[in-house]
Symmetry: C2
Subunit: 217 residues, 2 copies
């Protein structure tokens, strides 16, 4: 168990002896789950720190349309819902279930706060962990906002410059400059259009339009 904990974001750079000492002073629980068991539903309270010691967990979202979207798999040493332990909305953002037989170390919120307060390095680790979460999300929102507008410019351009549903780019850098955007951003929009099967790449800088209606927007 100590080895698995040492690999978590929380106990990162803490030596095994210190982890052992901390565990001796901390109230914790080991929860065991069978395959396919449901651990929590979106909206259930996150009651403290959950660290996976054994097994694989699946996070899923049930959309309001009734579709189930698999988000990710969690494995040993992963911390579950770290940014939802504190804050106002202490609830799981996703459904959580078990793939293989699993074991989870659980430390109740108040007790975890004491633990954070007992070792400055652990506190710093945890602050980094939840700050990273926010930073990733901010970046994601920013990219999707920017891509939406770059995509619009690019679609207009494709519409005007296509011939028989074929389209080629002379110089990506120049095109980005023409749009007044960064080259990597334009590149990202292009990959997205290929991934979404709106365009097919048929050669170096040559594309075939798969969904002509999309570019009419």
């Amino acid at each position: 168990m100590i080895k698995t904990l040492k690999e978590t974001v929380v106990f990162n750079s803490i030596d095994e002896k210190t982890i052992k000492n901390i565990l001796e002073k901390t109230k914790y629980e080991i929860k065991k789950y069978s395959p396919n068991e449901s651990i929590a539903f979106r909206g259930d309270e996150v009651k403290g720190l959950y660290i996976i010691l054994k097994g694989t967990l699946i996070t899923e979202m049930l959309t309001e349309e009734g579709n189930v979207i698999k988000i990710e798999e969690l494995v040993p040493s992963d911390v579950i819902a770290s940014a939802f332990i504190f804050g106002k909305k202490n609830s799981f953002p996703v459904d959580l279930s078990v793939k293989d037989e699993a074991e989870i170390l659980f430390v109740e919120r108040k007790e975890f706060l004491k633990l954070l307060f007992s070792e400055e390095k652990i506190l710093e680790n945890f602050l980094n962990e939840i700050s990273n979460k926010t930073q990733l999300l901010t970046n994601k929102i920013w990219n999707s906002f920017n891509n939406k507008t770059i995509k619009k410019k690019f679609c207009d351009y494709v519409k005007k410059n296509q011939k028989n549903n074929l389209f080629s780019i002379q110089n990506l850098g120049a095109l980005a400059e023409f749009f007044g955007v960064e080259r990597p951003s334009l590149s990202r929009v292009l990959s997205e259009l290929v991934k979404d099967e709106k365009l097919e790449r048929i050669g170096r800088n040559k594309y075939k339009i798969l969904d002509i209606e999309f570019f009419e927007i």
Copy 2:
């Protein structure tokens, strides 16, 4: 100054005497800015805790398209970029400038970590603050994802059921049920369409279509 600090998320529920004691033991700096002065650009390093003591700050984003979007105004007792003090990407997510003459209390990151470690309530306050940020963003992403699909269903429905660009809803709850979505979600999509000037509300549950092309999508 103590009064302003007492109102911040960081020193919430800490009495003035304790704040005074903490300040005496903490290295801090008071930075002064003139009106219209730029404090930081998106990407600049966030070096620690910044609390506004006086004046109004403006956060703006320069999109890759070259447009400036004003995000929000920050006022005394606000903490700047709290979720960007720790974590890997320690940089301002927005441009930050001064509207009126301003004063900011600055505590360097390492020193702020010591401060968090010195008082459990402050630590808990700060953990709540940055967790709330993540929770808000998660919620925002989730809503925009869900609204995208609900909006599509609703637009199809409007297209089929409009007459001379007019459209009425008999029963919003029943329509939500018909779509298999929650009523507040459908309601949110409707308000968004009105706000974006795609629809105009002309009576109780009666709407005029302003942008017919939009509903053709």
